[in-house]
């Protein structure tokens, strides 16, 4: 039995003896549970059910320089253990977001990670500059998985130089920790991650949705208006775990926000063992509005029952066969 194989000798701990706090590249999180961008809006909707400032951090829906109304409907289609979506980055634009959403998040004392999206390097830099000026965000997540209109609609995160160019531009505008949100739809995610880190990223958010498509066999139409959409949910979890593991193996000191199909406490443990420092809930939170709060308590109980004093002890703890 390896050092971190649980189940051989288990001495349970009282729940309050478990240390859930983690340091996410300079962001002090009370626990490792956070939200996947685009799956939690900016928090107020779920705050109708419970105090969202209990989250270790809240990663908000991506913000762009100008307001965007997004794509026509249908925007969503459920697939076996998954969901396809194409929203088109609908958001109020950075200025209104700062005035309304960020003001609310600050008032509620939420550890906020702003997600930045853009069509050009300039957009990313300008949004970042305005966030830096406004203050009140703990970190920024740079959503590199949007189409880059300056480069023929390619996705920034599919190219190491494009990703690095964006990361360098935003690094120049802020002193906050920066997380690059990457897609798994690439040949070598480690190379993209490395380029982002070299350009100034503090850490990485892994993974964005996988590009997918579904067609109605009767009408012949794509199930969603945009033809292609991002696949999320339990269906993609093994892909996400593999990506987190590969990147953590390559850059063991770098903080990773792991996400993709997290629904149960065991899924949180799986991401932490793969190498995540923080774990984000996404699609499962659509069906379970209390999921974030539940996972914080369940994680504490799960670790206490198995005698794990600090959640960080399990980070990267994959035992060899």
């Amino acid at each position: 039995m390896g050092e971190h194989a649980l189940g051989s000798v288990m001495t349970s701990l009282p729940h309050d003896a478990v240390e859930l706090a983690v340091d996410l590249g300079g962001v002090a999180m009370a626990n490792p549970i956070t939200t996947a961008s685009g799956c939690f809006a900016s928090g107020a909707e779920i705050d109708r059910f419970w105090d969202v400032n209990q989250l270790g951090a809240l990663v908000v829906k991506s913000i762009t320089l100008e307001p965007r109304e997004g794509l026509p409907t249908p925007r969503m289609h459920e697939t076996p253990s998954g969901m396809l979506n194409a929203i088109g980055l609908q958001n109020p634009g950075i200025d209104r977001w700062i005035a309304n959403d960020l003001a609310w998040l600050r008032e509620r004392g939420v550890t906020t990670i702003a997600s930045v999206a853009g069509k050009s390097v300039h957009d990313y830099a300008e949004v970042t500059r305005r966030l830096q000026e406004a203050g009140g965000v703990a970190a920024l997540e740079i959503n590199l998985s949007c189409p880059n209109v300056e480069h023929r609609g390619l996705v920034f995160a599919c190219s190491a130089p494009d990703s690095a160019e964006v990361m360098a531009a935003v690094r120049a505008e802020t002193d906050r920790p920066l997380f690059a949100k990457l897609t798994s739809d690439v040949t070598d995610i480690v190379a993209i991650a490395g380029a982002c880190l070299e350009a100034g990223a503090t850490g990485l958010s892994l993974i964005n949705t996988l590009l997918g498509m579904a067609i109605d066999p009767w009408t012949g139409k794509p199930r969603i208006h945009n033809t292609y959409g991002g696949l999320s949910g339990p269906a993609i979890r093994p892909v996400a775990i593999r990506n987190v593991h590969q990147v953590h193996q390559a850059f063991p000191q770098v903080p990773i926000i792991g996400m993709g199909g997290v629904r149960k406490v065991e899924d949180v443990i799986e991401f932490i063992r793969a190498g995540a420092t923080a774990v984000a809930i996404g699609t499962a939170g659509f069906a379970e509005p209390f999921l974030g709060r539940d996972l914080i308590e369940e994680l504490r109980g799960w670790l206490a029952d198995r005698g794990v004093r600090k959640v960080s002890e399990l980070r990267g703890a994959v035992e060899p066969w």
Partner: protein
Amino acid sequence: MTVLSAGEVRGREHGPVQAMGVVVSVERRGAYWHLRIEAPVLASRSEPGQFVEIKVDKRGAILRRPFSIATADEGVIEVVFDAHGLGTYALADLEPGATVDLVGPLGVAYTEPEGGLSLLVGGGYGVAPLGFLAGRLAARGLAAVAIVGAATKARLPDTAALEAGVAQLVVTTDDGSLGVQGLVTDAMPAVLAERQVAQVYACGPMPMLAAVGAAAEEAGLTAQLAVEEHMACGVGICWTCVIPVRDGDDVRMRRACIDGPVFDAAAIAWESTRWGPS
């Protein structure tokens, strides 16, 4: 993910809750299923036009299914549905006493009128929230008439709850197998000519809602429409269920789940939808 026990409720003092309801009855009436669930807190907060998200206990199904609340009396809510997919088949299979995981009530309810005669227009099982509304109006002594339509006699919903609250019910079928032959909008002119209708409420398929809204506008009446759109969360966080709504000269994509499902007909930019005139 915590599983609640039967009767357990969590949430705040006001607004939506998560509740583990208990099935009172599952009954097929004609083409549609009527599911009654005991959920006292959720029921006591429910208003006509609001909806409930029901968890589907099927492997591979990850999202809840939204249903308009058809009644919310004495601690029991009722939903009406057509069994046509994984989720609705699973709900039709429920037995009395089974637990059902609910989130609700969700969304903006119909704004009830100050007075005047209300015309309620429903298509298929879209009649569900209108029965709830008719009951509320009747309790306040407010007059209402209704038009209910379906493709054919067999697709007409149970209208007992609606009939109890309205002075007149006109039935339409596309094929003329019962009532007036044609669409609900074909029956509207006669009702509007005979009576002093003050406002219109509707629920049903989107093409029907577009037509009802247009007919109401032509008659100079406001219409409140309870819309539907593919919805992942029902609570306002996924941004999938948007409806184009006019805001001055602009069109904004508003969430059916939290800004709706009830919208003023005149505000909906149908030309920007897949149901509107192209």
